[in-house]
Amino acid sequence: MNFREQTLEFTDKKIYYIDKKTGEEIQVMMDWEDELMKKSAEYVCENGGDILEIGFGMGISANYIQSHNIKSHTIIEYHPQIYNKAQIWAADKPNVNLILGDWMSSLNLLSTYDGVFYDTFGDDNIKLFGDIIKDYVNEGANLTWWNDCLGEKNIFGWEDVTYDWIPAKPILNNYFKSSVYFLPKKKF
């Protein structure tokens, strides 16, 4: 089943769903990531300007992005339940541009950006992201992505990616288990 069709459950600590075939609880995002989201937001907002965030999740990184001195904040959210939450969150934030859909089919709505945070779930087009996003960033833009790898692995094949090692304390989940988060940093 496509992620968009999953019925999500929301708590203060996580977003999750139950896989109907396997009975597994699949976490989409959890609040233990707070520090990682903070550090990610710091990097993408380093230049200020226009920020693109792909994947709203629990809104943790979005709050941190809003705490920086930025011009605009464009958010693409794929799942309709999360999009509804994001709409409520964005109601009092005039510099937020919220888009419902997947990033591939939203390209015609995008501009160019000074900072990009890519953090998606169930993205079938992830392998295309590395090539395509290059046309949507300004010179000197900072980009990071949710890095679930157990090390300094660059899934997009870009050169000159550096990593900050951030201590992580994940509770039991099905997507991340390392005690170190390797925050990837790509400057265009």
């Binding site: 075939k21 992505w145 039991l172």
Partner: protein
């Protein structure tokens, strides 16, 4: 010949689940430690084997599940020789190329002195223990839904190990992606195992061994040329129960 059924003990079976954070299948196959162990009496689908690519948070990750079980057959082999054994497992769903073959394991401290730990994920030898396999593609159809048990006929290597060790230590693995390492999975391929009911309540669907055995050649008396007949159940490495005559003299 006599027969008996030996059920797996509660603390001697489980599935080790691995793969969180792994974006390389080959690296996962060499990993020594899993993430979790699932065992016990549950109602939801229970993975026995899994070799899967999962598109979730971030990049594609892989999942690997192996089912481990250790059977104590020492009460039989102390005075009998096992001549045939069938491992029976109750099944649940097979998805995509989910499959299961039975192989030798060295988990549980090898001799059953330890419980199953996540650190035993790679305690496998690669030696096949069964002469038949289940699942897809191309193997026998995995029976699900409590209608009947799936039967693995254990091969001569497994029989010999049981007779010499007094135990059977097995791991169930996906054949194509895990044991044979033919390809990297691109979909979610798994095969389910049924509920493992609590000891003493209902053993029907508990993993079990149906064993055929023979008493050791007692007809030769306690000794032959000074050698105890049940010394390892063998004379010159030949199982005594397989010897019908010596110099044309029946046992």
């Amino acid at each position: 010949m006599a027969t008996t059924t030996i059920y797996v003990a509660d603390d001697k079976r489980g599935t080790i689940n691995a793969g969180v954070g792994f974006t390389d299948w080959d690296e996962l196959l060499g990993e020594t430690e899993g993430d979790t162990i699932t065992s016990g009496s549950i109602t939801q689908n229970q993975f026995a084997t899994r070799a899967s690519a999962i598109v979730g948070r971030g990049s594609t990750q892989y999942r690997l599940c192996r089912f481990f079980a250790w059977f104590d057959v020492s009460s039989l082999t102390s005075s009998n020789a096992i001549t045939n054994a069938v491992l029976k497992i109750s099944g649940r769903a097979v998805v995509n190329n989910g499959s299961i073959g039975i192989y030798e394991s060295t988990a549980f401290g090898e001799d059953g002195s330890e419980g199953l730990e996540t650190t035993q994920l790679l305690e496998i030898t690669g030696t096949s223990y069964s002469s038949n396999e289940y699942g897809s593609p191309g193997y026998s159809s995995w029976v699900t839904g409590n209608t009947s048990l799936n039967s693995f006929t254990l091969n001569s290597t497994a029989i010999a190990d049981m007779n010499s060790n007094g135990y059977l230590n097995i791991v169930g693995r996906n054949i194509y992606y895990d044991a044979d390492e033919e390809e990297t999975p691109t979909t979610d391929n798994y095969l389910g195992i049924n509920q493992w009911t609590a000891a003493g309540t209902n053993n029907t669907y508990r993993p079990q061994l149906f064993i055929t055995y023979l008493p050791i050649a007692t007809a030769w008396g306690e000794k032959m040329n000074g050698v105890l007949s049940n010394s390892g159940n063998k004379y010159n490495s030949v199982l005594s129960t397989t010897i019908s005559k010596i110099n044309d003299v029946a046992g």
